[in-house]
Each structure stands twice: as structure tokens, then as C-alpha cells.
Symmetry: D3
Subunit: 341 residues, 6 copies
């Protein structure tokens, strides 16, 4: 038996991605699943391996002292109350993005986690992707110098062909194009720029295509950001495009630039008129199968095991990204710049 | 002898690009050059071909009735008074970008040209480049549907290795990164989006590299735009980067997207998970040798010859781009959104 | 239960390709298989899913009123009598290519289908491939103008390493290189040129390689075609080559050309000296796994459901391609041009 | 002084290509030019180097005993009488393609050359191109085995942008698309197949584009050929396309195939599902600058010097290609197959 | 039942690669496995298919007359005594590389096999890889002329992430970087040069990375070789690098060169300033899944069946490669050149 | 007038490469040329620009006090006495590679330069090439860690098509393949490994091609090296190959590897199974036009101007490379390892 038992709440598509990733780590395993639908323990165990108990009542799951971690895979609007309850029950927490749809909910989760002293891991797993591990290493090795401008954008047409579309088009579920999907790009931008946001302005719009008509909110936005150290950034979140998936990154610094998997650094005396290229797997699809859940969960269980906080994607870190997203969405709504921090 | 004699004012690097381009057209030829330096007519004629008269006094040049067109190649801060004088003298006008450094000067030029009923051609020659002729044709063929989001950006490190750097670093000469160089990108964005701008917000900053320290103004800016029809856009102007020249274009519409020389269109039933590619010469350098001056001037002389207005790059059209640039620069300066139109 | 039950006749390699494709549609499912070999219903059901009844006698299968569609997957020389019988029994028909080996058989099938008013779908599934859906869309969007010359060719070395080789080398089974395999290319050429053939001339030959010695007919032919509107075409059918599979397409029109996945169109103002490229899956193998059976069958069941004729690959449409093939083969045999239509 | 003095007759574009190529050889030099226009010897010498005498009367040129070779660069309809006269005058001959417009003229030239025992070199210089030297070497090394099918095609849109267009559109000057330009492709096909043609059938047509309306003859043709050894071939000649220049080659033999610069050979045990690639300069433009005139002329002067016949492109060899072209054109005109040989 | 029953001795990773490869041949099948661990016959049969009997005692396995072939998959230091015993028992032999760790053991094995007249196949399966089948064919076709210089190198970082690392770091198991892994490269070099080695000199060293510290021997060596005919060669064996797997080949001859999958041959008249490319699967990983075990074993069973010796990888042939390796390792150890043969 | 006047001795091909490179610097200019042939000052000045005096007697040139630097471009066997004379005359020295053909000459040159306290620059200009500036920067940035193995090789077929061939085939002029051309590769290897050589072993041979028969020495050699810190290296020098020019570099260190313009570094967390790529101009031809003479000479004049020693390519530095080359050649000759240092 491995050391950490995990109970999943919400048994949809994302749960089926969490389960093998958790079971693939050296320290964790899924032992419980809670859903509003009636599930059968035997069938779940057969499907996912190991011994899984089905729950219909989340409180019952929380009452089980053999469960050490709860992974919140429910709809975004259910996250806050479940996280608060789980924290009170002393469970460590894995929480899917987006964390929630309002600043109030965000604060409630943070407060509960701090009070209960539980560890938290938010699914901004792109920080553990091949692309951003390499990108961050290039920055940290000083090859780009000090960054003063950065763009990270999310282009991914989420239409009827995509599972999430069914519920994600609702305002109270998806929230905004930046929150529901672009959050990965904005979070990656903050990772790269490594600095505090002081102001954002955001403009938004919608495609005229019928395909995307069901959305109750604007499905394209572009946000510009000012950082405390004077550098600036930009994040476009476009879920109503018809094109290949594109997670666009362009970073500009005092010693060079990075564009997706290409870079130039004055420090290496390479040809400035052509890009050098980094061997990396680009984020090129919205599917979790391309995302490094397992590396992230491994890091979380290792953190639990050594009593440390989760690196890169703790609730505290992820909360900062959400604050900027909420500010950007408020800017688009109110038509004026919003101060942060 | 060809039909239109052209007098050049300002004999710097850009003049040496205008001269062969004008002489390469079927209807125009350079017959006069005016400079604050003493020039020798014989030497100029030998160097550039044809018979060129050197002038030291611009009024003398204007007094010559055999000169039909004046091409303004002087420093940007000299444009307004020269354009006004030339228009009064009844000369048609070719004017280098940027047109001027203030809205007041812009209005003065427009007024003078209208009053004198002279024809005008502003050097936004990127509109005549292989890249944007093809891009515009793809849009006009309906392959992208109705555009709702567009980005055109200008990344070109203009440091001591680049001729322009000598004077361009001065606030009263270069103006801003958007005005001095990014203007091509913003003008191309307006061409593609084909709609009236109603509001802009712009953030700006500077590289920490010593290389760019001489600049008296911020050398990186990012501007977001709202159009009258609800669509939105974005333009980054970065003259302090250290990377290959990059004129980045990304257009998103109801039937597909275009990214530089790549595109996807639902109308062609191609694979949505990969880009189709357009054979085109990308704008990949800041040098005029890559820019289609000659095509533009040929169009201007043809317009003169048929009594029509210059297509695509008349003063009226170019003035709209400059208004947006001035608004963006004001936004960056004042820290608030600026209404246009 | 889905709406249309399908009975397969002939349980060879092609049947194993039809079954999952049929079961993959939204409206059809395989419920019967008839073979001259003794098959076991339980085993067939286990292997292919669903409930499949094994038949040894085709008449018995036809007598089953619960079977709505018959898919003819037998040897080409058996098609005619089976199609006629099935039509008489009121079954709709899916028929593998080639339809038959003689014009007499073709007419018999057409007559029977018309008399019985059953719907028909012939397996010219390349018309539903990514490559030809895109190619046809490019033509229909007018990017090539009016076509006046077209080539579609089939290069695929069918030797002992290829299953079909066992029986396909017989004159009374394979017929000719154009009929047995090149028919896909000729059919695609007619799709693209969209016009009636009035005359063909064909020359044929054989490889000197021992590998292909077992063939009882010439295994390379080249056919040229005249269309009613004056345009011309060409189709090479080569099953005795030793090279990568190649489905070569070259279309020449009044606004541009298309070469496989490349094209040039004057309408897009791209560079005429280089090809633009279309993102598409090229037909690059003779295996059905590369062929779009499922899309074709889905279209057929949808047609049945709405009482319409099968689009693109009905018996009437496919018969026209076979008439041209028979004429071409007659030309090669007789050594003179053959009139069509 | 080099050994062979050459007199040029016809001072158009092709002459300006011959002159430097001849002067670039180790044994030949241009010393005379004859044109119907008045030319100045001093000016010609200055332009082309060396000492060149201008002639207005071809007979005068022929009367000069210091001229050893005549290069015939006049319009195709003037070739025959000039060649006959030059041969009678004992001059060796370089003759541009096409040789002439009729079989009668061809026979007259052959007869005169044989009678006078002069050496001849016809400008089928593609036989000396990098592409066909390598292609022929691959065949001769046995890597393709015995060829049984071959295609060589010529796609080159010759419109108003191309110098030749001015006179080439006339029936009595251009002749046919196969004769005027496609002759290079047909000649290369015969080189590769290395066998005698016994029959041809040709179909022809025209583009509907206005661009090509001035042509007095059909500008697209496709010809199929039977060879004495049973192998077959095909040649398309398309001068009314709008696409990149394409000299398409596809050869199929008993050990492998060659497609342009790609090949597969069973003898090398490489992967049959992918092409191997040959490093070669493809014929990718209609300009003589891409054609290997100089290699060809060097070979001719070496042949003269050793008293041998010109290899690869003697009049006898080139005559065979022209006979096939005339037969093909007659087939297109008469609508029936034409026997050759 | 197929003709040859094979008993495996040593049930580690390499055995699991041999089993399906043997079972995939037309004549052989695994019927016995012998391991020092207790194995269960039923479980083995279920896992690998067929009927497999588990043995704990190798002598018992050898005593079984139904076993015709023994495949030696144990640790290298166990090979010699097992091979000798199996030969004495009259079993034919498949032996994994490296054969053994000393010349004495090598001679013992050779002697036993000769005495017993059993057939032998050593796992230098790279000789049956796509890469070296093609490379050898290019040499044999004379495209490179007579070789006078050759390099084949092995770069493959074998660290803790690689299964073998566990035991391979021991001096008495791995031996040397050249013996444990580089042996494939040296063996391939001998295959290509096709000549007897007369002298070797080898230098060796180790990476300073902690990752490779566990190795008890030097993990990088470079060996130069003199052949009897005067040609020379070189083989680097590097198992302590951090880079992509690279099996580097460079052969230089009197008609051309080959570099990995690229070549130039004067015989094909291709462009000497660029490489032609051969379509082949490069050896690009240390995993057996990339290695052609099955082709090799098929050839072995065919040899058994026709009473011939194993081509390319018999014990006699492989012994020659090991002699050179032992000489090279002795050179590195003693610091002087070692004579061979 | 610029500050440093340069006199050239030896007016062959290499001199014509030095002259524009020297004149292209900011501080130097060629004012004298000395040759054994009679040259005309006026003609030389016209050809190369500036004012150049022709000398027939080297002592006269040395006697001219206005000449500050002598560039030695004569045959290698003339270098020593000219360098000694020039040093005695107080001239600074540019010396072409190879420096000389014997250790005695090398020592004489070193002694003379030291005694005269003149500055020296040896033409190992590859150290100033784009490729090795970038390679060295990658090493110095620590991206490869500590190097323990390195290869730099020189493959360049120097046959009759190459100017140098005329005299270079003589033993007393070319010396050896390593000395005459491979010296660039060996020098670059020492630059990269940055360590003292303690021993070398070299094997040599010749191509069997007639093309290279005129060489009086072996034209292929491979040398292995031991460095003081335990790392090892290898250098092949092949001037008798028939393939594209290839300056092969492979460096292996404790954090990654570099292969030509590709690299992997564990420090950047990129994908270890694929190479990252550096934008650089590879040394891809033996022509000086590809070599960075001008950068090197600029650095030399700057060194003169600031009284510093020449960086990277001083006589002292270059002497170390020559010592290793002489040792390697002695090893090949004597058949045993040679100690260095």
C-alpha cells in the first residue's frame, strides 16, 4: 500500500484524468470517489484498479479517516463549499482550475485552508509541462536577461466537438474566456514575468460564428498588465477561434527573446537574424493527456511527505493568478483599468 | 522623358531608397534634390542616373514649375511645414512615415492638401507588400469569415547598428516606439480589421539593456483597440528587443484564422489541427529593400495620371492611422483609455 | 438498437474493414454475415461486437426481413448476381469496388436497383477522404478557376506482400490495373473535372520484374480522356511499381493549379513561383484504414433516413466511372480510341 | 586566341545567352553576329568582349573563312534555310530548338549536314543539366532496373510577363505547346526510356484564362507513347498554367522508381515506404540561366577537336525527338493514333 | 507445432525481448525458461503464449531432448559455462552480446561449439537492422568505391533511468564501455570495412557527472584501428553522455562517402556540395524494440533448416569483433598499441 | 589615412583574401606587396584600392619604415626565414597557417618574435568564425558542464578542382593532411577542450582514387589525444574524400553535449531525446570567403593599438597547436604514441 489515499469528488471527465495520474505516482492512490450519481464500488475498482469505495454523500467521504487527500473535480461553482468542508475535515487538497468564480469564494477557500493547516495543490499543471519547465530554465539561466515585456496567449476553439462545451457555455459555470481556459496562459505569464501585477485593462468580444452562439459570455478577450517593476505583459484568451490549438509565448528581455520553442540570446553569440530552437514538447492540445498531471501530483505527495508547501502551484500562488483574472474580467465589464494587489 | 518630375527634400538614407523606386516606375523620375547640405548636381546625376538639379533652398525647388511632385524625406519634425509649403505651391506629395509628431501638424497638412487639391501618397508601403497583399486577398475572399480579433505587432531591435538610431532616439524625432516604427504594424492592423477605432488603451516600458539606454522615450508599448463593430485588436511595438525581426500577424474570424503566412479556413475543409501555408515573402527586415516602395509609387503615378486618389495610402487614410497612434501614446502617457473618432 | 441492420456477404479482408465502419455510424449496425465458409454466430458476435448471425446461404440472409441493407464484400465476379438478388429482395445496397468486370453486369445491377427502388452506395470512399473533400472545396471555392487539364494517378505496387495479391492476379478477378485499383484515381479525376467523358485512349504494359509475373493482365496503363467541354485529362494506373504509394493529383485551371496538397491561386495574390500548401491527410496507403469508410457509410444511412439518394457515390454516379474504365480497357486491348457517353 | 570562331545568326534574347556560354568554353569564341537590324561592331565587342564583326547579310558571314561554326539563334521558321546555307558553306552548326516547324524542313537540314559532313549540336541542353545527368546515371547504374513506364512533363505558364510571348503566340513561330517548349520534356523522356517510339496519341486543349488568349494554337497537350520494346510513356506540355515552373519526371522500372529528385531502389534495401533523395539542381525555371549551355558547348567543341560526333544532342539524335513531336501534333490535329519510325 | 523448440536461460529484460521475437519467426518457438528464481510454468505460458516449462536447474533443461536450441540471456559472466554445457548437450545456440569478458572464455565457447558441431547465432542484431542492411547494400553496390576510412560510434547515456544500469556498472559484469554497449558500433565498423584488423590503440576516460559515478570502469573510450589492406578506422564508445542516442557512421571511399543516412557517390553525378539521403530507420535508441531480433532469428532458423552456418552473426564472426574489443581494452589499460590477428 | 600600413609577402590566392579583409578593418590598410614575380604598383593599386607599392625584394620592403605590419602569405616552406627577417626589422606579423613544416622552424620564429617584441597573429581564423564563437560561448556559459571527450574533424576533398592542389600535393609544401588543412580542426579542438595535450597517437592512410594520386603524403589521418586533466579527444583530417565539406564537432561533457550546431543541456530541462539547435553559420567550405579573416585582423589591429597581445591566435597559442600536429605526424610515421608538452 502506498502512503496517501485520495478521495475524488465529482466524477466527470477531469476525474478520469486525475485518477491514473494519482495512481501513477509513487506515494498516492485513489481509494474513494463521490458523485451525485449512484456509482458501484466494484465497477469503479475494476475500471480504475485498486480498491475504490463509491460515495453519494461528500460528508461521508470526509468522515473517513483513511482518506488523506481530497481531489476536487466538480463543477467550478461547487469548489468553494467542498474545499471549505474538506479543509475543516483536515484533508489535504487537490483543486481543479478554475478555483472558483468570485473573489469571495477564493478568500473563503484560502481562509479555510490556512485555518486547517492543510496543504493545497491547484491544477495549473502547465507549470509542470515540458514547455514551461524549459522556458523557466532558460529565464533562470539568465539567457534572456531581465524581462520587460511578455505575452502568453491561449487560442483553442472550444465548440460542440469538445466535451466541456456542454456546461462550459453557461456564465455561472465557465465565467469568462480568461477564467475557463485562458487561466493557464495568464498563470504561465505570471510564472515567467515573476513579478507582482499592479494594474490590468481588458477588452472583450465574441465571434460571429453560429458555432459559438451558445456561449453566455464573451469568448475572446485581450488583457494588458502592468507589473510592479515597470515591466508589462499581455494575455489573449480566445475560445471561439477555428484554427489549430496555440499556446503562444513571446518574452522579451535585456539579453534576448523567447518565442514558443525558439530563442535568441546575446550570451551565446549565435546569429541574431535567426532563431535558435529548444527541443521541447509544446502545449499543443487542450486535452489533459498532453498535460503533466502526474509530475504535478508526484511533487505534491513529495511535499506532503516532507512537510513542505507545494511548489509552483499552491493555493496561495494560484490565488494570485485568479485575483488578476477577476480584475481583468471586471475591467472588461466596467470599461476601465483595475488596480491589483 | 517620363511624365512626372519629382523633387526630393531631405537627402538621407530614405531618400536613397525613394530615388531608384521612383525612377523604376513607368511614369516618374527624380529631377531635383534639396538638402541643407551643399550638393553637386553633376555628382547627384551621376550617382542616381538622369538629370538631377541640387537645391539648397526648398522654396527655390518649389518655385520650379517643371517639378510636379515633391517627396518629403526629411526628419519627421520638418514634414509639416514642408508639406504645407509644397501643397501651396501646387505640388503633389509623397510623404515618409511618420507623417508628423502631433495632431496639430497632421491637421495642418490635411488642410493644406485639401485646399490645394493636390494628391498625396504616404509611405505606409507595407500595404503594398507581398505579405499584406496576400493577407488582404485571403480576407476579401472570405476565407476567414468576419474578423473579431486581430493582432499585428512590430518586433525590431533598433540599436546602434542601425542607421536611424543616430537621430531616432530623440523624443522630438522618433516620438514613440509606436510612432517611429510600430506605425507600420498598427496601420496594417487597421487595414486588416477594416473598421473604425473607437477606443485605445496603451501600456509602455523600456528594456533594461544598456544598448537601448540612449532612447529618450519608452521603447516598448502594447496597445489594445476597440472597433465600432465590436471587434477588438492589439498592437505591440517593440524597438528594444534582441531577436530576429518579426512582423507578427494573427487574425481570428468566424470561418478561420491567419497567423503570419499560415491559415486555416473551414471553407476549404482542410485539417483544423494543422496550418495551411501561403507562399509569400514575409516582412522580415526593417530595410527598405524589403519594402515595396516601387509598387506603391507606380500606383501613385497611375492615380495622378487618371485623376484618382491614391488607393490604400492616401493622406486621408494614413491620417486615420496616425490619429490612433497619437491616441495610444496619449493613453500610455496619461494612464487611461482614450476615445477615438 | 440503431435503425438499420446490415448483412454482409463475403467475409474476407474488406468485410473486416466494413464492419467497424458500419458499427461506428450513428444509424447502422452489422447483424448478419454470409460466407461460403462455415462461420459461428457466437464467435462472430464476440469478435465484432453486437449480435451477428452467421449464414451459409445468401438467399436465407435475404429472406430475413430484419435486414435492411446488404453490403457486398465478395469477389468482384460475384457482385452482379448478388446485387441483383439483394435488390429483388428489397435490400438497400453497399457495393465494394470494382462493381463488376463487364458492362453487361453493370447494366444488370443498375436495372435491378432501379426496378426495386433501393438505394445504393458504391465504395469509392476516396471521395469522402480528407484529400478529396479539401481538393473539391478548393475547386468549388473558385480558387483554381475553370479546369482545362487534370491528372489523377494511382501508383501502388501490389505484390505478394499484399493480401489482395492472392486472387487479384487472375484476369477474371482483377480485370485490369485500372479496374482493380486505379479505379479510385479515375473516379477522383471525374469528380474533379466535373464533366462528361467523350473519348478515351489507353496504352498498357507490364513490369519486367519477376515479382509481378503472376499477373494475368497488364499491370500498368495510362489513359487520356477528352471531356465534353473540351478539357482533357489523364490517369495512370500502376500496380507493378516498387516505390512509396502515391495518389498523384495535378489540376490546371484558369486561375491556378493544384498539385497533391499544394496549390497556387491568382486570387490570393501569393507568390506564383512557390506553392502554397493545404493541411490535409494525403491518401498514402492502399489500406482501408486510411480510407474514410465511416464517413461514407454515415452519409449513406443519413440518405436512407431522409429518403434521398446517396451523394457522390451512388450506383448511378459510380457506373459512369466504370463505363469510362471499361472503355479505356477496351482501347488498350483494341489499340484504338473509344468513344464514350 | 582560341581555336573555334563562331558566328551567330539572329541577335535576340537567345543569342545573348549563347554568347557568354560559348566564350566560357576552353576552345570557342564568338567573332561575328548577323542580324536584320544594323549593328555596330565596336559596340558589340564592348558589350560581349573579344572582337566581334557585325554582319547584315548572312551570306557575307558565311563567306568569311575564319568562321568555323555558325550558331543559329533566329526565329524557328528561318532555321532551315540558314542551316542549309551554312552547311553548304562548310560551317559546323549549333542550332536552337525547336529545329523547325515541319518534317520537310527537318529532312532538308539533315540532308545538307550529311552532304557537307559538318558536325551539329542542337540545343536540347537539358540533357546536360544537373538533373538529367544524375537521372541518367541512376538509370545506367541499374538502380531502377528495366524501365517500363515513364512520364516527363513541362508545366510553365508562358504569358505576357515572358519575353518569348511576343512572337511565340503565332502558329507559324511557336508551332504547338509541345514543339515550342514541351520539346525539352519529350526529348528528356526519350533520353530516359532509351528506346524507339512506335506510336503516339495526343489530346490538346486551351486554358479559359484571358491571359493566354493571344495564342493561335492549343497551349496544353498530353501525349502517350508506345516504345518498340513494349514499354510506354507520357508527356504533358502545358504553357498556359498559372503555377510554379515544374519539369515533372516519374520513371517506373523493375527495381524501383524515380520521381523528380527522389527515388527508391530495391537494390539498396532502403525503406520502400519513403523516398530516398538525390542532391541535384532541379530544372526549375524557363530561363536559360538555369540551363547548362556552357557544358553542352564545351562538349561540342571537344567533339569537333577530336573529330567525333556531338554526344547526346547531335542533329541525328534531336531529329528523332522532333519526329515524335510532329507525330504527336498530327495526332492531336487528326484525332487518331500516329505510327512512328 | 513449429520445428524448433527453444529453451531460454536467464529470465531478465533481454529474455522478454527474445521470446516474442523467437515466437514471431516461422520455424521457432520458446518452450522452456530456466531461471535462478522459481518460476511458474502456467504463468509463463499465459504471459508469453504457447506452452512453456519452467526450469530451476539448467542441466535439467539441457537434458530435455525436445529442446533444440538454447538462447543464452543470462549475465555475461555466466555465458561461457552455459554455452559450453549447452554445446556438449548438442543444443544449437543463440548467445546475447557481449559473449564474455575474457579471451579465455571466448576460446572455450568456440572450442565447445566446434567440437559439438552445433550452430551458433550471436546477438549482433544491428547487422540485421534497416540502417546497416542499407549501408551494406550501398557499399556492395560500389557507390562508395573502395573504403579507406571508417568511423562507427556509439553515444548512449546509460544512467539510473536505464534498466541495465543496476548491474552493468560492475566491472565484472559490464567490462568496459566498448564491451558492454559500444560492441554494436565496433561490430558494425568491421562489417562495413570488411577487412582484418592488425592493430588497435585506445584511450579512455570518464564523465565528471555524479550521475555516472557508480561505474567501476571508464565509460568513454575512443579506439583507432589499422586494417590489413592499409585502411584505418575509429570507434568511440560513450555510455556517460547526456544527449540523444546516436549511432554515428561515417565511411569514406574512393567514389564517395556515407554519413548516417546521407551519402554522396561520384557514380550518380549528383551535387557534391550536398548530401543525398537514404530512406532508412536509423538506430536511434538502445531499446531492443528498435533492434531487428526477429529478422536475425528467422535467418538463424532458416540456416538450421538448411544445414548452413548463420550468416553475418555466427560465433566465428562475432568472435572476431570480440577479439578486437579485448585488444582495444587492453590498449587502454596498458597505454600502448596492441597487435591483432 | 588609417594607422597601420601592411606589407604583404607572397602574392597568391591567400593574399587576395587578406587584402580586402585588412582594408575592411578600421585601423589597417595594405600599402606594399612583395612577390618573386614582377608586379606593377599602378595596376595593384587599381585592383585593390589605395596606394600599393610593388616590391621584388623582401629586404627592400622590410627596409621601408612606413610599413608597420608584414603579412606572410608565401608558401609554408618560406615562412620561417621571412618571419625571422621581418621580426628583426621590427615589423608586427600576420602569418598564414600552417606556420611551418618543422619544430625547428617553429622555434626559430618564436625566438625571433620574442626577441624583437613584435606582436603576432596566426591565421587560425576559425576561432573567430560564427561557429566557434558560439560553440565557445556555450561551453563558457556552462551549458555542457566539464568536457571529458571531444572530436573536431576536417573532411574536405582537395583535388584538382581546388587551387591549392597545384603545390599542396608536394611533401615539402603541404606536409601532411593534418598540417595542411586539418590544422584548423585540431586547433579548434584544443580551443574547445581548453587543456594541455600530454600524448597523441595517429594512424594514416590514402584514398585508392586516382584523383588524389598526385599527393606525396598520406591524405587521411586520425589522431587521438590525451589531455592533462584526463579528458581525451580525437581529430580526423581527410583531404581525399568525395563528399560535402564537413567540419564535424562533437563535444561531450558532464551537463550535456554539442554536435555541430545542435546541443543538449540538462540545465535547460529540454527534451533529452532530441537536439536543440543553435542559429549559426557552419564552416561549410574551404574558401576563405567563408572564413572570418576580417574579424580576426580587426582584433589584431585593436591589440596593436592598445599594446596587448593578440587574443586567441597569437604565435604562442598557435605554436601549441603546431606542436601537437608535429607530434601526431611523428606518431603516424613512427607507429608509436608520442608524448607532448
Amino acid at each position: 500500500m502506498k502512503k496517501y489515499n485520495v478521495g475524488i469528488v465529482g466524477y466527470g471527465w477531469v476525474a478520469t484524468a486525475h485518477i491514473p495520474a494519482i495512481n501513477g505516482t509513487s506515494l498516492g492512490q485513489v481509494t474513494a470517489i463521490c458523485s451525485s450519481r449512484k456509482l458501484d464500488s466494484t465497477e469503479l475498482s475494476a475500471r480504475h484498479g485498486g480498491r475504490i469505495t463509491a460515495y453519494n454523500d461528500f460528508d461521508e467521504l470526509l468522515a473517513n479517516p483513511d482518506i488523506h487527500v481530497v481531489s476536487v473535480c466538480s463543477y467550478p461553482y461547487d469548489h468553494a463549499k467542498q474545499v471549505v468542508a474538506a479543509a475543516k475535515a483536515g484533508k489535504h487538497l487537490i483543486i481543479e482550475k478554475p478555483l472558483c468564480l468570485s473573489l469571495a469564494d477564493l478568500r473563503a477557500m484560502q481562509k479555510a485552508a490556512q485555518a486547517a493547516k492543510v496543504k493545497t495543490c491547484v491544477c495549473f499543471e502547465c507549470r509542470f509541462s515540458s514547455q514551461f519547465l524549459a522556458t523557466k530554465s532558460v529565464i533562470d539561466a539568465g539567457l534572456l536577461g531581465k524581462l520587460h515585456y511578455g505575452e502568453v496567449d491561449y487560442y483553442h476553439g472550444i465548440g460542440p466537438w469538445y466535451g466541456q462545451f456542454r456546461w462550459n457555455t453557461r456564465k455561472d459555470a465557465g465565467g469568462s474566456s480568461l477564467l475557463t481556459a485562458g487561466c493557464h496562459a495568464l498563470d504561465a505569464l505570471l510564472l515567467c514575468m515573476g513579478n507582482e501585477v499592479v494594474e490590468v485593462t481588458s477588452y472583450d468580444t465574441k465571434s460571429r460564428s453560429k458555432v459559438f452562439a451558445p456561449y453566455q459570455y464573451t469568448t475572446t478577450s485581450v488583457t494588458i498588465l502592468k507589473f510592479k517593476d515597470g515591466s508589462i505583459g499581455k494575455c489573449a484568451a480566445v475560445v471561439d477561434c477555428l484554427q489549430p490549438y496555440y499556446f503562444h509565448t513571446h518574452l522579451v528581455g535585456s539579453e534576448g527573446s523567447l518565442l514558443d520553442n525558439k530563442f535568441h540570446s546575446m550570451k551565446l553569440h549565435t546569429n541574431k537574424h535567426a532563431w535558435s530552437a529548444l527541443a521541447m514538447k509544446l502545449l499543443d492540445s487542450g486535452d489533459v493527456s498532453d498535460h503533466p498531471y502526474q509530475s504535478q501530483f508526484e511533487a505534491f505527495f513529495q511535499a506532503l511527505d516532507t512537510g513542505k508547501d507545494m511548489p509552483l502551484t499552491s493555493l496561495a500562488e494560484a490565488a494570485r493568478s485568479h485575483e488578476v483574472i477577476f480584475a481583468a474580467d471586471r475591467s472588461a465589464e466596467t470599461g476601465r483599468a483595475i488596480k491589483c494587489g
